[in-house]
C-alpha cells in the first residue's frame, strides 16, 4: 500500500493532469476503512485522504469494491443489516461512522449522484431540485428558490428549464435528468459530492457535457467519483485511487496519487497493468 501523501519530489515530476500539491487540510480522511457483508469482506483496509477543491477518482476493474467503498462514505450501508463498516472515516472533525453522528445530517454534508438518473417521477423539476432542502426542514421560499436557481445554474440546466420548472422531471432527456439529479444534490450545499459512475448510463454527448460540468463543479464541492472508464478518470480527475479485487474477492487499495503521475509512472506494477489496459 502506497503512502498517499505525496512528497514534494514526487509532485514535481508529474505528467498530464494536475501537478499541484494538495491545497490545505484534507476534507475527508479514510483510515483502515473496510466493508464486509455477512462476515465476508468486500473492501479491505483502505486509507487515503481527499483534498478540498479536487476531484478524486476511484478507479479499477469491476468488482473491485469501488462503489461499495463510495457508499460507505455517506453511510448508505446503514439500511443493509448484514453490512458492517469498520475503520475511521473523518469528514473534517466528524467521525462519519460514530453512533453520535446522525446519518441524515451527514448526508446533507456528503451528497450523492447515482449511476442511473433517478429524479423523483411524481415531482416537478423545481420540486426535485429543492427536495433535499425540504427533507431537511427548509421552509422559506426565498431560500428554496435561491438554492434551486443556484444549483440549476451550476448544473448547466437553468437556461433550459427556467420556464418550465413545474413540468415533470420525466419530460427531460437522460442527460438532463442526470444534471437535475446533480442540481438536486448541489442544492443542499454539501461539502463533498459522491458520484457513482454518473455517465455510464448516458450517451457520449451527454457524457461529455457532464464531464465538463464536473470539472467546473470542483470549485464548489469536493468530488469523489467512481468510474470504470480510465479515459474519463484521466480527463476529469486530479487524484486517483486504484482498487483491485484480491484473491478473496475483497477489494483493496493498490495505489493512490495525483492522476498524472499514476497514469504515467505508477509505483505498483498492477497499476501499470491496469492503465495499460491489460485487464479490466
Amino acid at each position: 500500500m502506497i503512502d498517499p501523501t505525496p512528497t514534494p519530489d514526487v509532485a514535481e515530476d508529474l505528467g498530464s493532469g494536475t501537478d499541484e500539491p494538495p491545497a490545505g487540510e484534507p476534507v475527508m480522511r479514510l483510515q483502515d476503512v473496510a466493508v464486509a457483508f455477512a462476515g465476508r469482506a468486500a473492501v479491505r483496509s483502505v486509507s487515503f485522504d481527499v483534498y478540498p477543491g479536487e476531484i478524486t477518482a476511484l478507479i479499477g476493474p469491476s468488482g473491485s469494491g469501488k462503489t461499495t467503498l463510495l457508499r460507505a462514505l455517506n453511510r448508505l450501508h446503514d439500511t443493509e443489516r448484514s453490512a458492517s463498516v469498520t475503520g475511521t472515516i473523518l469528514l473534517g472533525d466528524t467521525d462519519v461512522n460514530a453512533d453520535s453522528t446522525d446519518p441524515t445530517l451527514l448526508r446533507t454534508r456528503v451528497g450523492m449522484v447515482f449511476q442511473r438518473p433517478n429524479p423523483f417521477p411524481t415531482m416537478s423539476i423545481y420540486e426535485n431540485a429543492v427536495a433535499g432542502l425540504r427533507f431537511n426542514g427548509v421552509r422559506k421560499k426565498a431560500l428554496l428558490d435561491e438554492a434551486a436557481e443556484s444549483a440549476l445554474i451550476a448544473a448547466a440546466l437553468w437556461e433550459s428549464v427556467r420556464d418550465r420548472l413545474k413540468a415533470h422531471a420525466s419530460t427531460l432527456s437522460g442527460g438532463e435528468q442526470q444534471r437535475l439529479c446533480i442540481a438536486r444534490a448541489l442544492a443542499v450545499e454539501p461539502e463533498v459530492l459522491l458520484m457513482d459512475e454518473p455517465t455510464s448510463a448516458l450517451d457520449p454527448i451527454a457524457t461529455t457535457r457532464i464531464e465538463e460540468l464536473i470539472g467546473e463543479l470542483k470549485h464548489r464541492v469536493t468530488i469523489i467519483i467512481v468510474t470504470h472508464n480510465m479515459q474519463q478518470a484521466m480527463r476529469v480527475s486530479d487524484r486517483c485511487a486504484f482498487l483491485l479485487m484480491g484473491e478473496d474477492k475483497a477489494g483493496e487499495l493498490i495505489e493512490v496519487g495525483p492522476t498524472g503521475r499514476l497514469f504515467s509512472e505508477p509505483s505498483d506494477p498492477r497499476t501499470l497493468d491496469y492503465v495499460n489496459g491489460r485487464f479490466g
Binding site: 455517506n74 451527514l106 448526508r107 423523483f120 411524481t122 433535499g132 427533507f135 431537511n136 444534490a185 443542499v188
Partner: protein, 292 residues
C-alpha cells in the same frame, strides 16, 4: 373462443335488464330512490338499501385505507427480509376464507361483543357526534362495516404491498442520500410512486365490499329502514335480494331484479375503474383469483 365468454357476459347483462323491466314499466323510474320498502302496500323504494350498501362500505373503506396502507408499507419495507414472504403469503391466504365463515364468526362471536362492550364504549366517547344514538343491539351497520373491513383488508394489503415494493430502489436511495428520514422516504417518494396502484387497490376493495352478500346479511339486522345511527340495524341491496328472493313473486320479484340491476351497474362501474387503475400488475392470474 373468447366469443363464448363475451357471449355469456352479454347474455348475463341482457337478461338482468330484461327481468328488471317489468318493475320499471309498472313503477316508473323514481322507485329506485323511494325510501319505503313495503311489498304489501306495493311500495318498492330502494333508497334504504342503497344507503345501507354505501354506508357499510364507507365504514369499511375509511378503516381499510389507512390500516391497509400502513400494513402494506410495513410488509414491503419494515418487516425483516426473512419474514417478508411468509407474512405476505399469510395475509393473501386470508383472502381465501369464504365470506359466509366471516358472517358466522361476526354473528356469533362479534355481535355479542359489540352489544356488550364495543358499542357502549364507542357511544360513551363518540356519542356527541350524534352518530351513535339508539340501543346497543350488536348487529347493525357498524358490525357489518367492521366485518367488511376485515374481509377487504387482504385485498387492499396484497395489491398495495405489491405496488409499493416495486418502487425502484434507486429512488428510495436517492431520497435517503439527500438526508430524508425513513418516514420521509416512504411518505414523499414511495407512496406517491405507487399511488395509482394504491388507488386501484382501494377501488377493487371497495367493489368487493359493495357486492358482499352473505356476511353482511348475517350481521346487519335486516331492517328495511334508513339507518339513523351507526348502531342501527339496516340492510343492503345484496341482503335485500338474498333475503326475499325465495318467496317473492310478481312486482316484488321484478323489483328485486331491478335491485340486482342497480347492483350490477354499480359493480361494473367500480370494477372497471379499479381495473383501469390497477392495470393488471405482475401477479395477474393469481391476483384475479385471490383478490376478486
Amino acid at each position: 373462443m373468447g366469443a363464448i365468454f363475451v357471449g355469456l357476459v352479454a347474455w348475463f347483462i341482457i337478461s338482468m335488464i330484461v327481468q328488471a323491466r317489468p318493475a320499471f314499466s309498472t313503477l316508473g323510474f323514481s322507485w329506485i330512490i323511494q325510501k319505503t320498502w313495503d311489498p304489501t302496500h306495493n311500495k318498492y323504494g330502494l333508497l334504504p338499501f342503497i344507503l345501507g350498501t354505501v354506508e357499510t362500505t364507507a365504514i369499511a373503506m375509511v378503516l381499510a385505507l389507512p390500516i391497509g396502507l400502513g400494513t402494506a408499507l410495513a410488509l414491503a419495507y419494515l418487516v425483516p427480509h426473512r419474514v417478508r414472504q411468509g407474512l405476505s403469503s399469510a395475509v393473501e391466504l386470508l383472502a381465501a376464507v369464504p365470506s359466509v365463515v366471516y358472517g358466522l364468526w361476526g354473528l356469533i362471536v362479534l355481535a355479542p361483543l359489540f352489544r356488550e362492550d364495543v358499542e357502549p364504549f364507542l357511544t360513551s366517547i363518540l356519542g356527541w357526534t350524534g352518530l351513535f344514538n339508539g340501543p346497543n343491539e350488536g348487529v347493525g351497520l357498524l358490525l357489518a362495516g367492521i366485518i367488511l373491513f376485515v374481509m377487504v383488508l387482504p385485498t387492499m394489503v396484497a395489491i398495495s404491498r405489491d405496488v409499493l415494493a416495486v418502487v425502484p430502489s434507486e429512488q428510495v436511495e436517492g431520497a435517503m442520500a439527500l438526508g430524508a428520514t425513513r418516514w420521509q422516504v416512504l411518505r414523499k417518494v414511495v407512496v406517491p410512486g405507487a399511488r395509482t396502484g394504491i388507488l386501484g387497490a382501494f377501488t377493487l376493495a371497495t367493489g368487493r365490499a359493495l357486492g358482499e352478500t352473505v356476511a353482511v346479511a348475517l350481521v346487519i339486522g335486516n331492517s328495511p329502514y334508513i339507518a339513523h345511527s351507526v348502531k342501527s340495524t339496516a340492510s343492503t341491496l345484496p341482503a335485500l335480494i338474498v333475503n326475499n328472493f325465495g318467496e317473492a313473486t310478481g312486482t316484488e320479484l321484478s323489483a328485486l331484479f331491478g335491485a340486482g340491476l342497480v347492483l350490477l351497474l354499480i359493480g361494473i362501474t367500480v370494477n372497471a375503474v379499479a381495473r383501469v387503475l390497477v392495470r393488471s400488475t405482475a401477479r395477474s392470474g393469481a391476483a384475479s383469483a385471490a383478490v376478486a
